[in-house]
């Protein structure tokens, strides 16, 4: 299965790499660790923070492209959704790249390719639920040996020698651990096509590699049965499984009874598809768990469904549960816990607290004592609306954090609709009138042709903070979190035709063809769903002449003081979209910057700056078609500079020092622009 051509290329490049490495150690050793970026989120605490300051407010706009690398050739087709954040450790930059999810090692100063590794997985890769280049990889070193670990689209854990890119023979079988086996379940229908994979970066803490699991999108599942997303720890030296945590408890385990009518037996998903956080000192791992099978209908899984949408703390050495807190009982809104928990040592009312802060799609920052799991500020259970979908069971209450207040919009009322002009507002109201509106946790409803077509939500599937997560400054105790404030999701349910799904209700619009939603690159060989007969409802665009239905700001960055739970500032992130700036309906109006409705923006923070790229293309008098990488003053949120990118940011930025210079690397792609990593640095003296 291993690609021989790539291996040959590796061997050739190995010579080049070795030459490079012979001269590198002295320099590498002299580098401060704070100048490296050794794990996906900079560190295991999920901070996305480096205290570097060569690039600062006085010079950010002077940044120039140091090097760039297109990822087109790292796969058999270009990729337009490059989501990776590279690592920089011991003088080498590593990244996943291209539709092959190849691993590349680059010179951090020049971008020169040192080695490449790829796995040709055939049908197993081609039928994987989560394809493309993924979000990144993990680096491990004991001071002598250095290793790179990543998971292929086909769900195999690969361990490479970081110096050569060659598989480490002593790890698993020839450098590979098949993650579809030894998983306390039989993956069905078979190992080749069985639905399970992952796109996030593995985490390595001490000598333990921790791997979660991901599945296809869960809005329109074909079945109430699916594989389960257990989390496992492996020995980084041998690849041996050390522990497993059953995210859906097995019979006799704690939480099994939260799956009534034996639904724990057949329900699947409930994986950890996003980044995992570890406190090495405490020996604790924080697992952000996603939704169980069937995002919007839980009639086949009555009960609270632990550990669905639950933050679970487990022991690093054993995987045993220490505490848990379910953010959403009986999940119905696709409120996967979608990003890395952030570890924060804070001072609340004069007392030090080792805390963990969890950003969320629903715009709440859930803050707990990370030793005990107790909320730092009260999170009372509050009654929520009970819906009327046949067969559904509803949790009567949900925990609502009293502090910090929600940092992004998580419900829809008429006051949230576009209000630039009375005409636009009336049209928005007309669209909204076809839907059921309400605050956070307003449940999905059955779609009716005469209306309502569904519940109009924000802060659900793609709202608030998604996989890029937040940033945190451990010195000032301030978290900086991007959120989509206008990513709407109309959730209507339709009875699923039996030939489409064995689930009673799946997402859809009354009278429209039932469409099975797929994850990226999922096998298209399955029979296409049959149209549902019935009265056809009209197509309703969820915008007003392409203007967003919600009023601005469309996307925000919030600075939140974790000592006090107060939001210090909140800004609109991103240039006002072309469609708003150029709208004839808005001519003559002075509209402050609106930000953009994008859900996948990650922030990087340095000593003084918050840095984030835009998620949409704009064309303005200041720049041609493109997007800007922007920097803000951490204290005030005031813009400190911006630099042009040819395409939107699709992977979160990172930074490092190399040979005395600070670099910022960001992944861009989308629309007509295929994936590219771009490294920025300041002009050299004399330039």
């Amino acid at each position: 299965m291993r690609d021989r051509k790539l291996l040959r290329l590796q061997t050739a490049l190995l010579c080049m790499a070795l030459v490079g490495f012979l001269v590198m150690p002295a320099l590498a050793e002299s580098q401060s660790k704070s100048g490296e970026w050794p794990s996906y989120a900079a560190d295991l605490a999920g901070t996305r923070y480096r205290p570097l300051d060569q690039i600062n407010a006085s010079n950010f706009s002077d940044l120039e492209i140091a090097w760039r690398i297109k990822t087109d050739n790292f796969g058999d087709r270009p990729e337009y959704k490059l989501e990776g954040t590279p690592l920089m450790a011991n003088g080498v930059l590593y990244a996943t790249a291209g539709s092959r999810r190849a691993v590349i090692a680059l010179d951090p100063g020049t971008g020169e390719l040192l080695w490449i590794h790829g796995e040709h997985e055939g049908k197993r890769g081609g039928s994987a639920p989560r394809q493309l280049s993924g979000r990144g990889l993990a680096y491990w070193s004991d001071g002598k040996e250095e290793r790179i670990l990543y998971v292929t689209p086909g769900y195999r854990l690969i361990c490479l020698n970081a110096k050569t890119g060659l598989p480490v023979g002593s790890f698993g079988k020839d450098g590979l651990v098949d993650l579809k086996v030894d998983n306390d379940q039989e993956i069905f229908p078979d190992l080749e096509t069985g639905e399970i994979g992952i796109q996030s970066a593995p985490v390595v803490a001490g000598n333990t590699v921790i791997i979660g699991a991901a599945f296809r999108e869960g809005m329109t599942p074909r079945s109430m049965r699916n594989n389960k997303g257990y989390v496992r720890g492996f020995d980084v030296r041998t690849g041996k499984r050390l522990w497993i945590f059953h995210t859906i408890p097995k019979k006799g385990e704690f939480g099994y009874d939260t799956w009534e009518k034996g639904s724990a037996e057949y329900t699947g998903n409930t994986g950890v598809w996003t980044q995992i956080t570890v406190d090495e000192q405490l020996g604790l791992v924080y697992l952000p768990v996603e939704s169980p099978t069937s995002d919007f209908y839980g009639g086949h899984r009555p009960g609270n469904n632990l550990f669905g949408e639950t933050l679970v703390c487990v022991d690093l050495k054993t995987g045993e549960r220490k505490w848990h807190f379910q953010l959403v009982h009986h999940p119905l809104w696709d409120m996967d816990i979608s990003s890395a928990p952030i570890l924060a040592d804070i001072i609340v009312d004069g007392k030090p607290v080792k805390a963990v802060a969890q950003p969320s799609k629903q715009g709440f920052l859930y803050v707990f004592d990370r030793v005990t799991g107790k909320p730092v500020w009260p999170m009372p259970e509050k009654p929520v609306e009970v819906g009327n979908v046949p067969g559904e069971t509803y949790a009567p209450t949900q925990p609502i954090p009293s502090k910090p207040r929600a940092y992004s919009r998580n419900g829809v009322s008429l006051d949230d609709l576009i209000d630039f002009t009375p005409v636009l507002r009336d049209r928005a109201k007309e669209i909204a009138s076809k839907y059921h509106l309400g605050p956070v946790f307003t449940p999905p409803i059955v779609s009716k042709p005469e209306g309502p077509l569904g519940t109009l939500t924000v802060g659900t599937a793609s709202g608030g903070t998604n996989w890029p997560g937040g940033s945190y400054d451990p010195e000032t105790h301030i978290a900086y979190i991007y959120a989509c404030n206008a990513c709407i999701e109309p959730i209507g349910l339709v009875a699923a035709p039996k030939e489409v799904s064995d689930i009673a209700y799946i997402a859809g619009v009354a009278g429209h063809e039932v469409t099975i939603l797929r994850g990226p690159g999922e096998n298209a060989g399955a029979d296409s769903p049959k149209p549902k007969k019935g009265p056809r409802s009209e197509y309703i665009p969820m915008n007003v002449d392409s203007l967003p239905l919600m009023k601005p700001p469309y996307g925000t960055i919030s600075a939140i003081n974790l000592d006090t739970g107060e939001i210090l500032w909140q800004i609109a992130h991103g240039e006002t979209p072309d469609v708003v700036r150029n709208s004839p309906a808005l001519k003559g109006m002075n509209i402050p910057r609106t930000g953009q409705e994008t859900y996948n923006i990650g922030t990087l923070i340095t000593k003084t700056l918050v840095i984030a790229g835009e998620g949409q293309v704009t064309t303005t008098s200041d720049h041609p078609r493109g997007a800007m990488l922007r920097a803000y003053d951490k204290k005030t949120g005031k813009e400190a500079g911006a630099v042009y990118m040819p395409a939107p940011q699709t992977g979160s930025p990172m930074t490092y020092m190399h040979k005395g210079k600070q670099y910022i690397v960001v992944a861009v792609s989308g629309g007509p622009y295929s994936g590219e990593y771009i490294a920025y640095t300041l002009p050299s003296e004399g330039e």
Partner: protein, 160 residues
Amino acid sequence: MKFARASSAGALGCALFIALCAAHAQEPSASPKSVWDGVYTEEQAKRGEPIYGKECAACHGAELMGGESAPALTGGGFLANWNGLTLGDLFDRIKKTMPQTSPGKLTRQQNADVLAFMLSRNKFPAGKTELYKQSEMLKEIRFESEKPAEKKQFRQRLFK
């Protein structure tokens, strides 16, 4: 001689081709045709809808609103992504990379029909002729997110 004649003919052909290309290149750079000029038919968009439903909606959503793994094909973000480029650029992107599981699976005709459906959902007007299916010809149709007349009027007002 035969060879020479053929060669002359070939040379003449080449010269003609180059002349045509040159003439073509001398056309105003702002193509006279845009997505606002009725470049597809309603019939074609209707043909494209079921193809979209079968091949595209799984990731981009039945309502073109996008999903967790694929961008929206309607609204401001989509329009800005392609504004200033041509339908040929968009067509080639679709043809080269979509559907993601089986790129190139659809015929040019099917791709053109899907594109017509996308244009209709984005409220670009239908016309009397179907959308071309040749990339080179589609590259002559500019993707303009703003309606040209309104744009012109708007600018005139701005610069008064």
